[in-house]
Point group: C3
Chain length 140, copies 3
């Protein structure tokens, strides 16, 4: 019979960077004992994203950061919401351009990620934050 | 025991703008009486998005609009699909760059949004439309 | 009573293009006999996306391709991850800008897509690949 569990991960970030959370989400799946189902993640913020990206060459993530930094420049005179720092509005836009939810099937008791897929929290602010990620696990 | 409910919201839009639907989705969650679960939304269109963004300073949403209007210009000579108006192809691209689905856990009978998160329908066309958002609620 | 099923679709791609999978996903929904529920898709790659877009005028998809090709240029000197070809890093970025998951309600035994919505696998690499899409079906 189908059942569900919910968890909250708290991730301490230091600066604009990728923080891999694959292991933490997988540990929750193992804890539930679910063999088949669906894992859904939601980040409770508007200036950090959840992203599935390549977990092999870290240059991929550096190039992603370089591209997004150029696409959404800090200090762009277009932005009027500047009271929280000149990296705040770019962080909102980078979040809108990426994702705050992910849904990954559970197969044989594990997250059914592709060979090169890792789950990352992408911190878009330049200072340290405490980020909350909710994890909903469904299955049997 | 887990159960599900489905609903349809019809949102009348006036022009390119953000329309907050947090309260309408939350009212549906309350109507079901679900205490723990997952709310999934799907917008049945290809020229309007669902977006979670900051619900405090509305300048954030104005800056989002300014950024996307600059990134995907109306009247860009690159576009050949122009029969439905010069705002139509930019609307499709803005939708591809953002999201048509959202999934938010339900905790203690409420949508587990972060403090500053609101759910918005982002109308990308410049004229009025009637937009349909499906809401799937799962839980117990 | 709620139940779930899981499937894997293998899609052979030839080059950078859109491959419609609406019919294949719908066939799986019909196979389960579910009348009401939720279909969730996950693509197990970091250089191809899942996208819901207009299924009528194919010029829309050509314009999407033209826009993304200009936004994320192949051969951009910004990129250092070039060992797998100069189309690889653009493919990762295009994937980050779009989606790897989709969730669509099931109503009356069918995917509840809008009139103009089709589900596409968007291949971002310029050579042929074999792409795996997982489909999780939940409902009753």
């Amino acid at each position: 019979m189908l059942r569900q569990s919910q968890y909250e991960l708290v991730i301490k970030t230091g600066n604009r960077a990728f923080y891999e959370i694959t292991g933490q989400v997988e540990a929750l799946v193992h804890q539930t004992g679910l063999r088949t189902g669906l894992a859904t993640m939601h980040i409770q913020h508007t200036s950090a994203s959840l992203l599935i990206q390549e977990n092999a060459d870290q240059e991929v993530r550096r190039d992603l950061e370089r591209f997004f930094a150029r696409l959404v420049p800090v200090g762009d005179p277009l932005f009027r919401h500047t009271a929280e720092g000149d990296d705040d509005m770019p962080a909102h836009i980078r979040t809108a351009l990426t994702a705050v939810n992910l849904s990954i099937p559970i197969i044989d008791g594990n997250l059914a990620l592709g060979t090169w897929q890792g789950i990352y929290l992408w911190e878009h602010r330049t200072q340290a934050h405490s980020r909350h990620v909710l994890v909903h696990l469904l299955g049997e």
